[in-house]
């Protein structure tokens, strides 16, 4: 079987500088057009009294022809003797930058087209900058429409000198500059007789000399957990951790750690369907594996090897972000961050500076990031996440930000930032400082109510116990109530349809519910009540968060069955039989309620 190598190339540049013509020419000159296609486009032009242009070949959609500009990335296929290419046509118009990004983020290399007559324009630079941010290292600059400047070497050299200087600033070292006339075919497939002063390759030859990125097998192993499958219904007992390997390799018997939960296990097997059995998997493969021990992990965690360099574990990081959202990126608002397979709430903490993508001027005074801005910022996630800096493991240092159902920005992480000034701590200090205290001291409430205030959190890490802990919570509430104590149970799902229903979009989900229940606990315990909740599979960070949010009041963590924590310790671990009575005993021991029998 042939199974030829393929390369994705994106073509970018300012509007009307001739990107579509370059593609049309590449397709025609490599014999890659379907039979009759060229003729039918020529026929279309004749009927509509328009001069034929190669660009029309690509304008497959009606409304696009009407506008005469490429609005979206389109893919075209062509091949040389070397390999197959997908050429991604990215629109040059500024309004369609998000489409340009879509095309460019799939490419190995970029062709950047500049009109020899018009020279370097705003989007020549802007596109160069975005290509650099997206991580494309190979850039070939095509100086097009050379026929309109009489193939003048001086014009070509002037553009080359100026643009090289710009590219240098954004860390792009261009592979080459090629003088072309796409419309006439000069230096596309064959050397032009008009540019004998240039000894560089033709576009096709240059493309064939580019190289595909090597799979990152030499880097430390990283695999974002995409899902955990268990198809027991069909008699398959395997519990499979599925994901695509970003870098490195993994073998049966390797000791692994899931981050950020810090849970450890050992690889039992590498799984696949219709493949020969094997013990090792490599970068880029979409695989699955089973583990030696049963541990509870969630999709979104990242799997690393115990003996290798670990990613950064932090809730704060410094990043360059490119914003394409309709609404600006603002401080304090809750967004959703997607990195690897992790989805988590994130806030913009600080704008370090905003870089004009075209002129590279730095603006440090703007307090929001607007559409098409590139900004250097500090972000904070609601819990620590595991990532690498873009310079260490590129594929694990890229993220997007979702605003109101839409991907509104993409970014690359420059470094982790120490968690010293955590916004949650700041929030709690502010809240306590501003809290309007009533006239009743808590000691008086205790005397009148006959018990102390307490926040009781019931959790469990045993599969299938989610319903059980709700029942225990309710039973405990009833028991305390019958003893005439002021107790109240609130389940997280009640929040979902009540208090949180207007404020939480589904993606913020759990993290936001944890926050709200913590804030509510602070209020309930302040009023002297015993506030009970149950949260299945609470993790260390969530427990810490609840504790902080309930501050300065008392909290007790009760774990039923297996622990869901990694290093955090529940105050009490009990079995499921008679759990409510056992919790009452704990409360007596802690002197939250009085033991009448004493």
């Amino acid at each position: 079987m042939e199974n030829r190598e393929q390369m994705n190339i994106v073509i970018v540049g300012h509007v009307d500088h001739g990107k579509s013509t370059v593609i049309g020419r590449l397709l025609a000159d490599t014999g890659s057009l379907p039979e009759g296609k060229l003729e039918s486009v020529k026929e279309y032009c004749r009927k509509n009294s328009r001069p034929f242009e190669y660009a029309f070949l690509l304008d497959a959609l009606k409304d696009e022809q009407a506008q005469g500009i490429t609005i979206d990335t389109a893919r075209c296929f062509f091949k040389t003797s070397q390999r197959n290419y997908i050429i991604i046509d990215a629109p040059g118009h500024i309004e369609f930058l998000k489409n340009m990004v879509t095309g460019a983020s799939r490419a190995e290399a970029a062709l950047l087209v500049i009109d020899a007559k018009e020279g370097i324009q705003e989007n020549s630079k802007r596109h160069g900058h975005i290509v650099s941010m997206l991580g494309i290292r190979q850039v070939v600059v095509l100086v097009n429409k050379m026929d309109l400047v009489d193939f003048d070497e001086k014009v070509f050299q002037a553009i080359q000198t100026e643009f090289r200087e710009f590219l240098d600033k954004i860390n792009i070292n261009p592979v080459s500059f090629i003088p072309i006339s796409a419309f006439n075919g000069d230096n596309i497939a064959v050397k032009s007789p008009y540019t004998l002063w240039n000894d560089g390759p033709t576009v096709l030859k240059q493309l064939d000399e580019l190289v595909n990125r090597k799979e990152d097998e030499d880097l430390p192993f990283r695999m974002p957990v995409q899902d955990i499958y268990k198809f027991t219904g069909e008699g398959d007992g395997r519990r499979i951790v599925a994901g695509t390997v970003l870098s490195g390799n993994i073998s049966k018997g390797d000791e692994v750690i899931f981050l950020p939960s810090n849970k450890r296990s050992t690889i039992k097997s590498i799984e696949g369907f219709n493949i020969s059995p094997r013990d090792t998997a490599y970068a880029e493969e979409a695989i699955g594996m089973t583990l030696e021990t049963q541990i509870y992990i969630k999709p979104g965690e990242i799997l690393v090897k115990a003996g290798e360099k670990h990613p950064i574990l932090s809730s704060r990081f410094r990043a360059n972000v490119f914003w394409v959202g309709k609404a600006p990126l603002i401080k304090g608002k809750s967004y959703k961050l997607k990195i690897g397979t992790m989805r988590i709430g994130v806030k913009l903490v600080e704008i370090i500076n905003i870089i004009d993508a075209a002129e590279l001027n730095i603006d440090t005074f703007k307090d929001q990031v607007e559409r098409h801005d590139v900004a250097e910022c500090i972000f904070e996630t609601v819990k620590p996440i595991a990532f690498d800096s873009i310079s260490e493991i590129e594929l694990n240092g890229r993220f997007v930000i979702v605003d109101n159902y839409e991907i509104a920005g993409g970014g690359i992480i420059l470094e982790g930032v120490a968690d010293s000034s955590n916004t949650l701590l700041e929030h709690i200090m502010d809240r306590e400082f501003l809290w309007e205290r009533g006239l009743i001291p808590s000691s008086l409430r205790e005397t009148i109510y006959g018990h102390k205030a307490k926040f009781i959190v019931i959790t469990s890490g045993s599969e299938g116990n989610d319903k059980l802990i709700q029942d225990i919570g309710r039973e405990l509430e009833k028991k305390l109530f019958q003893m005439k104590y002021k107790a109240y149970y609130l389940g997280v799902s009640s929040l979902f349809y009540g208090l949180a229903s207007q404020t939480v979009s589904d993606h913020q989900g759990r993290d936001e519910h944890i926050r709200q229940i913590g804030e509510l606990a602070r209020i309930f315990t302040d009023s002297g009540q015993i506030f009970i909740t149950s949260v299945f599979n609470l993790d260390d960070y969530e427990a810490q968060k609840l504790k902080l949010l309930n501050h300065p009041n008392d909290i007790v963590f009760i774990n039923i069955g297996d622990s869901s924590f990694n290093t955090f310790q529940a105050d009490v671990v009990i079995g499921k039989e008679g759990a409510a009575n056992a919790i009452c005993a704990v409360l007596k021991k802690q002197e939250v309620i009085l033991d009448y029998y004493l």
């Binding site: 979206d72 991907i407 993409g410």
Partner: protein, 293 residues
């Protein structure tokens, strides 16, 4: 990794993303080679299982072997097999073969309308009982919010602009001018109430890749794709009144691959045997906006 390995890995990644993010998800199975490869990729992604229901729109004018093959594989691979149809149009014979409407209107009614209303749950869905192999009414009437479709970018112009995750609004409309960005491997998996997403795991595959993969994995495809001795075979499958076989003597997958690489079809569009494309001036665009696959 070679090129097919890369395509496979990317499609598996997309399928897993889709399965993870959408509660009500289905996969369209046209019985053709592309969506059958898609089905196979689902078995790859989910380790031999297919946890996603397969939906087929039965126009009742499909080539009979297609239905036979569908039901055979559904039983063998234990698929959640569902079909939908435009029973009104069929009852009143408002179809092109019955001479009442033109080709495009026929496609609109039997495919597009049927698809829209089957996905939304408005019209009856039929589900296969894996014990008997018979179909009965599917009690589940919930709208599918994620629909996995086997379209490829190389098929024709409008498809080359699709995203891997492509939103459709309440009217099923595809706004080509305002599509969401896809950065790296992060896709649009969030969607506003009332909207849904089309998911396209095969976007980067070519017709040749499909056949090379069928050969590599030994995926069973219907024999309609092969010359049975009369010098004709189907290159693309649809309804018998509008899908014509092409002249070809390719008798097996390898011969088809050879034919695509260097033979007579190397430069002829795959859908050239589909009559409805030609009746619509802009190719598939009109049909496609309305939800045609």
């Amino acid at each position: 990794m070679n090129h097919l390995d890369k395509l496979e890995a990317q499609s598996v990644y997309i399928l897993r993303e889709a399965y993870r993010e959408f509660k009500n998800i289905c996969m369209l199975w046209s019985i053709g080679k592309d969506s059958t490869v898609l089905l196979w990729l689902a078995r790859k992604a989910f380790f031999g299982h297919v946890p996603i229901p397969l939906v087929h729109i039965d126009t009742h004018h499909k080539i009979p072997e297609m239905i036979e093959y569908r039901d055979k594989l559904a039983m063998k691979w234990k698929l959640t097999m569902i079909y939908g149809e435009n029973s009104e149009a069929l009852k009143h014979k408002k179809t092109f073969p019955d001479g009442k409407v033109d080709r495009i209107s026929c496609c609109q009614a039997l495919k597009t309308e049927a698809l829209k209303n089957t996905l939304s749950g408005k019209w009856t869905r039929y589900i296969m009982d894996l014990n008997t192999g018979k179909y009965g009414i599917d009690p589940n009437k919930e709208k599918y919010t994620g629909v996995i479709v086997g379209v490829r970018a190389d098929e024709e112009g409008s498809r080359s602009k699709e995203r891997y995750f492509s939103p459709r609004d309440k009217e099923n409309d595809w706004d080509v001018g305002d599509q969401p960005p896809e950065f790296w491997n992060q896709f649009k998996t969030e969607f506003a109430p009332g909207t849904h997403l089309r998911i396209h795991p095969l976007l980067d595959w070519t017709e040749l890749n499909i056949w090379e993969y069928i050969e590599r994995e030994k995926i069973p495809v219907t024999s309609l794709y092969f010359d049975q001795g009369n010098g004709k075979r189907y290159r693309s499958l649809g309804c018998y009144p509008c899908t014509l076989p092409v002249d070809s003597t390719a008798k097996n997958v390898n011969e088809i691959i050879e034919e695509l690489k260097s033979g007579k079809f190397a430069n002829i569009a795959e859908r050239s045997g589909r009559a409805q494309d030609k009746d619509d001036g802009g190719g598939l665009e009109t049909l496609r906006r309305d939800g045609y696959m």
